[in-house]
Symmetry: C2
Subunit: 424 residues, 2 copies
């Protein structure tokens, strides 16, 4: 990753340790993403988003903060970005995707919780996350036991707002969630020192919908007989979506979509026609974590769909563009986010319906259920997902893993065997 | 455990497998609980509750069902027993405390979730739980990720009611919980075919409060310089509380309390005066699971307090006896249960306050935090608990374990070292 020693030093980070960790991430990025052949030319921008995540992007946020805007760190796609954007604040997802920061978290947290939580907390505790020192508000949520209780420990330091997700989707749950969204808006108003303007909120809703449509359009190309983009590259785009400036990202994504449209029309695929079409379903793969995607695609398959938080759950369903009535706006935003089919909900049949629909639309040959180790909700829900896929005649494989390299050989064997067994 | 082959066969159970599992539990019970010296004479009744849990108790429930009463199986102390009792139904906790049924659950569930959930599901799937075939309603809840998502899998079979616990304790959470309690009441009315009678509900509230007071009184004797009852025996009483007939249990407990009062007055302790006084804090130890208590007390310490679901969280705080107004009654019940300081809540500072208070009241020399393996909420909250105990000058040890015997040697070493290090 690009080096910005002066910036990192100014922020008070441990620059040496930062480079040790992020040089390793950069090497993995080059060995996986950048090593691919036949990439769309306009992926260059998104490679740059990853490369500058701890450099140019931080620098521009520092400048915006100097001009009075605020940085809001998030850890989950349930945080309504529209509210953040409408107040002129900057939403950035701070989830960790590297195993290298995990030892720093394990000084505080138990070992047997999910690598994403540990990696995230580790980046902060190792003093290598450039967003930590400039973050005006961090936003946690109660989506899972590990995150919920980790927030309890971190909340003592202040500057953390915890949004409560309900666990069902009944009428009282909707009331509770609506109230949580309202409270989040109030907290943001206090942090930014600004009052929510309905016109600006309507514009933010339109911008986020535009971003979601552009992501959806990219994803539609992956339904083609010859998908014009790899699963790894689609993932890189999604990872960029969580940190980059929303408008610039959307414009560059629309340009990439145009290129993908052209490639699709010309029949320029990224994999041989006989490559098996795979859906990844389950946990997110955040920046730094290209492990499963690289493994599956280096085995000769093509990932054509991600039913994950770094996939369809982020961009499917738009916020209703309802005009400038503040209450109606907030209600429309709350409704869209409560529609996310996270495994934190009980029951969660909507997710299984979504998986089956996506499998049909993307004509997948098989589904790999991706479970971050110790993520109970996706791990247990995988039983129902596997059964539904079996009923639909779609083979599936469950992979439970963390961010370490130690099980790569074993995973490769399992993935190879799964791919070989897929009929056409 | 007592043999009732005819009964188990009538219920369609796998009688041979049942005996293989429960004879082993019986051996453990004899080697731990019954092997203790200087026990209160009136513990005999509670030993019998354990012994007849799969015999006499089932028989009397079969008879009551023949007379029209219903059996309601529970898995958590959040289920308001008052509502069950007021409708003439029978609440019985069905949580599993044996490792021997776990392999039957692991055919369905992931291995890396908590042993209590796996043991419970395993008993049902191995067809050795006599309550399964006669249960008119099972009641799950959303207290943790593992249980919540397990209910999703089991709900397909029907006959399962899932109560949603909120994750915070704010005003909207109280609304949601009150509504959940009301819905549970309605479900019970449908299952029993009876309508809630305010007079009967008031009587059930009084009975449950009487039971809690009797348990609290037992616990008060454990504050004495020479506690008249061991931690193992107090645990056996608590385990009985979760399955036995409420009125009979309470009457026999009151008789035991009288004996304990007498023993306390006469200075009849169950351990040498120099025995270290220990609090167990964290996860429950349900019937079949005497592992930690036996280990700690066989090492020469005395457990004088359980801050667990099979301890103070079950009996502390009464339901306000508010008269016969149905709405006020339900609200009072809901309020009492939402006061439980389970680690599922965020934040949960009330629990830490309770631990410090109990540690003072019971004059403990040290606290052992008991975490069932893969229970994220207690495991992570243990960090804050340990810090608070350290600030208060109280040594603590965290033990993460499952129901297996394989780590007993290692745990014994750790417990011995902890006890040796406790000053007086």
């Amino acid at each position: 990753m690009a080096r910005h020693d002066d910036l990192l030093k100014d922020l008070g980070l441990d620059v040496e340790l930062h480079h040790r960790i992020f040089d390793a991430i950069g090497r993995t990025f080059r060995a996986t993403v950048l090593a691919q052949k036949n990439r769309p030319a306009r992926m260059a921008y998104f490679d740059g988003v990853i490369d500058e995540a701890h450099g140019g992007r931080v620098r521009e946020i520092v400048e915006r903060r100097a001009a009075g805007d605020k940085l809001v760190g998030t850890f989950c796609i349930f945080v309504p970005e529209e509210l953040v954007l409408a107040l002129g604040a900057i939403p950035v997802a701070l989830c960790g995707g590297t195993s290298l920061s995990i030892p720093y978290a394990e000084k505080l947290l138990p070992r047997d919780i999910c690598p994403l939580v540990k990696s995230t907390v580790g980046l902060a505790r190792a003093n290598v996350c450039p967003y930590g020192p400039i973050e005006d508000l961090a936003v946690g949520e109660t989506t899972c036991d590990a995150k919920k209780k980790t927030w309890d420990l971190l909340a003592k330091d202040g500057g953390l707002h915890v949004i409560e997700l309900p666990q069902k989707k009944g009428p009282r749950d909707r009331d509770l969630w609506l109230d949580e969204v309202r409270q989040f808006k109030s907290r943001l108003e206090r942090v930014t020192g600004r009052t929510m303007d309905p016109g600006k909120l309507a514009a933010a809703v339109r911008l986020m919908n535009r971003k979601r449509r552009a992501l959806g359009r990219l994803n539609d190309f992956r339904k083609a007989a010859r998908p014009p983009i790899s699963g790894l590259d689609a993932l890189v785009v999604m990872q960029g979506a969580l940190v980059d400036d929303t408008l610039r990202f959307t414009e560059r994504l629309e340009a990439l979509d145009d290129e993908l449209e052209d490639r699709t029309r010309r029949g320029t695929g990224v994999a041989p026609d006989e490559a098996r079409r795979i859906m990844i379903s389950g946990c997110p793969s955040v920046m730094g974590n290209w492990k499963l995607h690289a493994l599956v695609e280096s085995a000769g398959a093509l990932i054509v769909c991600d039913e994950t938080c770094t996939g369809s759950r982020y961009y499917e369903n738009l916020v209703e563009e309802i005009g400038n009535d503040p209450d109606a706006q907030i209600a429309a935003i709350a409704a869209r986010y409560l529609g996310i089919t996270c495994s934190c909900f009980s029951p969660n049949d909507e997710r299984i319906e979504a998986i089956l629909r996506l499998a049909r639309e993307h004509r997948v040959d098989g589904v790999i259920q991706y479970v971050l180790q110790y993520c109970h909700t996706y791990n247990i829900e995988a039983v129902a997902v596997a059964a539904a896929l079996k009923d639909a005649g779609i083979p599936s494989l469950k992979i439970v893993t963390d961010y370490a390299e130690s099980d790569t050989g074993q995973l490769r064997l399992r993935v190879d065997a799964f791919l070989e067994g897929l009929g056409r």
